[in-house]
């Protein structure tokens, strides 16, 4: 991890960026990371079909400082409905490049083969060895640019199936099937300027476990610290693997209510206290989104159940940043082409933000 260096607020050295940067220079995506603020992520989140367990994994490559090698961090966070959370440190063991549908485009494959997503805490658990299968089309890429030289690009894909060995260390290891979400992120930002975001998804299982979900929903709200014009929001709906409804930010409203009880929030990884982690804002108890396009509309209501506060070391200061992974229950009502749908399924929502608001020095 890098820390304590001066934050490079300017553009990467030697680069004429013009008024704004909206993405990496050069041939995307195979361009070297320019500096310590630039990063690539592969993000995975799954919920088992019996709704008892979930996992969230983030594999990050961070730009190098002073021309050195890029830094890689890998975190595996496991959840069990009865037993809570278990988390690796920031360097979970990744034996080989993980599966990603974005690196291997092509038609969905469902035939069994060896695990292509293996991740294990150095402590032994949590650990997963899963075979991942893409069943749904990816979403269009989203872009957010802010603070002139900061930007974030991401692309999500719901309906990813996972089958294989699952050992969260809280209950005996087992072979299981899960369905979830995959996302790639490429961006350049510092956490205070990033502001915060709310990302989330749910998959409504279909009749067959080896096919795409009946319905899937993905939403995102990015709120950089700059003006509201830089805020980005979207909701997307998939029907049997095909994206059928997209609601842009000008047709969306996002609200929250209440607070998730603090005892439902666990701070992870276990080394987090060493970073001088400070308190963050309470996580909302309920998140609601409503949006429309013409005569079609969608309502989402997500009730938060349990949360893990994943503490992320900052690249630019000694003060860490926190991402809250929240498990809960999603209810979705939507009306499309004159017919109404109502479904409910477990979902995962990520609340991140507040790095600029709090610091120990400010509180003293």
């Amino acid at each position: 991890m890098t820390s304590g260096s001066a934050r490079p607020d300017a553009a990467p050295p030697g680069l004429d960026v013009g008024p704004f940067l909206t993405g990496p220079p050069g041939p995307f995506p195979r361009v070297p990371l320019s500096d310590v603020l630039e990063r690539r992520w592969l993000h995975y989140a799954f919920i088992t079909t019996d709704e008892q367990q979930a996992l969230i994994a983030n594999l990050a490559t961070l730009g190098a400082e002073d021309g050195g090698e890029p830094i890689r961090t890998t975190v595996l966070l496991a959840y069990h409905r009865e037993h809570g959370w278990a988390c690796s440190q920031w360097h979970a063991y990744l034996p080989r490049e993980p599966w990603t549908s974005f690196r291997s485009p092509g038609p969905p494959t469902t035939f069994p083969r060896r695990p292509d997503f293996e991740l294990q805490s150095l402590a032994g658990t949590p650990a997963v060895a899963l075979h991942l299968t893409s069943t749904s089309t990816p979403a269009p890429a989203g872009v957010s640019h802010f603070h002139r030289t900061h930007w974030k690009r991401w692309q999500a894909q719901p309906g990813v199936l996972a089958a294989g060995r699952w050992d969260d260390g809280m209950v005996p290891a087992r072979e299981t099937v899960a369905v979830g979400y995959h996302e790639r992120v490429h961006g350049r930002w510092a956490w205070p300027e990033m502001g915060g975001w709310v990302f989330g998804f749910c998959n409504q299982l279909g009749d067959r476990l080896d096919g795409p979900p009946s319905w899937a929903v993905v939403f995102a709200l990015l709120q950089p610290m700059d003006e509201a014009r830089d805020h980005t929001a979207m909701v997307m709906v998939w029907r049997r693997g095909r994206m059928v409804f997209f609601v842009p930010r000008r047709a969306l409203r996002v609200s929250v209510a209440g607070q998730l009880a603090r005892d439902r929030v666990v701070t992870t990884p276990s080394l987090a206290p060493l970073l001088g982690t400070f308190a963050t804002a309470p996580i909302p108890a309920v998140l609601c989104i409503d949006g429309y396009q013409g005569g079609d509309w969608i309502q989402l209501r997500f009730r938060c159940r349990d949360a893990a506060r994943l503490v992320v070391p900052s690249e630019t200061s000694l003060q860490p940043f926190s991402v809250h992974e929240v498990i809960g229950d999603m209810e979705v009502r939507l009306r499309m082409n004159g017919s109404s749908q109502l479904f409910a399924s477990p979902g995962i929502v990520e609340f991140a933000g507040g790095a600029a608001e709090r610091s120990w020095s400010a509180l003293r």
Partner: protein, 560 residues
């Protein structure tokens, strides 16, 4: 990971929101009950409002013809349902009165013609305005207060608006789809739909928004509910830990008696809230809070024997009901169980924190025993100290440590904070609070309601306890009276009568000893509040820290 316990502060339903009907007789009644609710449930709001009001006596006239007087008293507010002559007079009719509480209205709407009037000097009027502004902003968040104002609205036949606060964004062409706020309103089963229940916040309204992390700052807590919840959590833990084995009637049933009789829940609240304020989980502090309560109950059993007390928490003392030998033994049993409970934290908090807890517990017990010895020594030698400082020293050791200082320090340790400097700063704040608590305890023994207080009336006088009021009285009376009092106090308890004690109480009232003690208690609480603000900045703002702030003001406004 999650034990499934209820989190403190959340589970209790405030009276009047569900089931229980509230009847408000008049506007003056509404104001009086609002202030009473604040003093009881959120004393720091009342203290802050009292600070704004200062020495002003505010005469209030209402549109329904009722009157009231509002004034500050010892870091708190007091309402009299009758009119007194005051330098500032206010008139509210129902429109302006409800607008005062309804933050959705603009000031220009509040000040309608004939709806509001105020008279006084500009400086005093502004002080009153700040007082009402503070009450409107902070008291409106308490559900017990909301219930009162909701009931008043209903009594006037007004519709109850359900809003999300502010004019809100243009809803847009949504057709039949209800907005997100509408969805949210249906999310909390049993949630009160009062005029200012505005917990819904918009993150993004198609044009602008604000981050979720900026939405909820620390809020004033309903201390009454929180203390009850913490008390119950600790009591449940105690009752779980007392073994189900023989001898039941001679030991274990007796050990259950005092914990089962209730109490205020001050120590568990301090312990659990401090743990939360330092970033820990409240559940981590429940066991150590239970251990402190066990020590406390053991001290009480022995203390009641030493003081020859008759009643405790509304019933006969343990030694009165079961005899001194069994009571002493039950107290010993509770002490042993408390040690065992402290040690049992190893599996939850680890060895290092548990060792730190043990260290703190040893200090707590030593201070308490030394303090008790000082007072018993005074009584034994028929000595009454002349200086307040001697009394302060004694109560700091006897009560201050195990009632306030140590519960806070133990809570911080349970959260993993063992830095001596930070623990000392915390202890300094709550040391002041402990002194104020004990003085108020002594006052309540003399002038409190017996049903609430739970001990026999004037028990401290009958026991010859060296209270601040007694010390002040001895300084105030003539030498002849002083000798008479010393002679009376030197007699065995059985030879002191209730009638004589009432006479001493009347003498105290005439000498201003009780008012003097109230002022000293208020001074220590105010000093604690100042130190809290000035020296505990290293604790981030949170609901738990707000609870600790409330406790400081609770100690000298409490009724039990």
């Amino acid at each position: 990971m999650h034990s499934g316990r209820l989190r403190y502060g959340a589970p209790l339903r405030p009276a009047g929101l569900e089931g229980e009907a509230i009847s408000i007789e008049s506007a003056a009644d509404l104001l009086a009950r609002t202030v009473e609710a604040l003093v009881r449930r959120a004393p720091s709001i009342a203290a802050d409002a009292a600070r704004e009001l200062g020495s002003i006596m505010l005469a209030l006239h209402f549109g329904d013809g009722t009157h009231a007087t509002l004034q500050a008293r010892h870091n708190s507010l007091m309402v009299t349902r009758a009119l007194a002559q005051g330098p500032v007079e206010c008139f509210f009719d129902d429109r302006s009165l409800l607008s005062l509480y309804d933050l959705e209205r603009r000031p220009s709407q509040i000040l309608e013609q004939g709806a509001f009037d105020v008279r006084g000097t500009a400086e005093q009027v502004l002080a009153v305005w700040r007082t009402f502004q503070l009450l409107a902003q902070r008291a409106a968040g308490l559900r017990s207060v909301q219930a009162l104002w909701l009931a008043y609205r209903r009594s006037l036949g007004l519709d109850v608006a359900v809003g999300t606060g502010g004019s809100g964004p243009d809803p847009g062409p949504l057709g039949e789809v209800p907005d997100a706020a509408g969805l949210l309103r249906g999310t909390e089963p049993g949630a009160a739909r009062s005029a200012s229940v505005a917990t819904t916040r918009v993150l993004w309204d198609r044009r602008a928004g604000e981050g979720w992390w900026t939405l909820e700052g620390p809020r004033d807590a309903d201390l009454f509910d929180i203390m009850e919840t913490c008390r119950r959590l600790a009591a449940d833990e105690i009752l779980t830990r007392i073994p189900q084995r023989h001898p039941v009637d001679s030991l274990y049933r007796l050990m259950r008696e005092y914990p089962a009789r209730g109490g205020k829940g001050l120590r568990p609240t301090l312990c659990i809230a401090t743990c939360g304020a330092f970033g820990g989980h409240s559940e981590d502090a429940v066991r150590i809070a239970a251990a402190v309560e066990m020590f406390h109950n053991a001290f009480l059993i022995h203390d009641d024997i030493e003081d020859e007390s008759l009643n405790r928490r509304g019933k006969g003392c343990l030694h009165m009901e079961h005899g001194i030998p069994l009571a002493v033994n039950a107290g010993d049993g509770l002490n042993l169980l408390a040690v065992e409970t402290v040690l049992s934290n190893i599996d939850r908090l680890g060895l290092a924190r548990t060792l730190a807890l043990i260290d703190e517990i040893i200090r707590m017990c030593r201070e308490s025993i030394e303090g008790q010895a000082i007072e018993l020594g005074w009584i034994r030698r028929r000595h009454i100290p002349r200086r307040d400082a001697d009394y302060i020293h004694m109560v700091t050791k006897k009560t201050g440590w195990y009632t306030c200082r140590s519960p806070c320090r133990l809570g911080a340790i349970a959260a993993g904070h063992t830095r001596p400097r930070e623990l000392d700063l915390l202890g300094n704040v709550f040391g002041q609070v402990g002194i104020a608590f004990q003085i108020q305890d002594d006052i309540l023994n003399l002038v409190g309601e017996e049903d609430l207080y739970g001990k026999e009336p004037l028990g401290d006088l009958l026991e010859g306890k060296r209270t601040l009021m007694l010390i002040h009285l001895m300084r105030s009376v003539s030498r002849r009276e002083c000798r008479a009092l010393l002679g009376w106090l030197g007699r065995p308890r059985s030879e002191r009568t209730l009638a004589e004690s009432r006479h001493v109480l009347r003498r105290m009232e005439r000498s201003g000893s009780i008012e003097y003690a109230r002022a000293v208690a208020a001074r220590h609480a105010a000093r604690g509040a100042r130190l809290f603000e000035e020296t505990l900045g290293f604790i981030p703002q949170s609901e738990d820290k707000a609870i600790l702030g409330q406790v400081i003001h609770y100690v000298n406004t409490r009724l039990l």
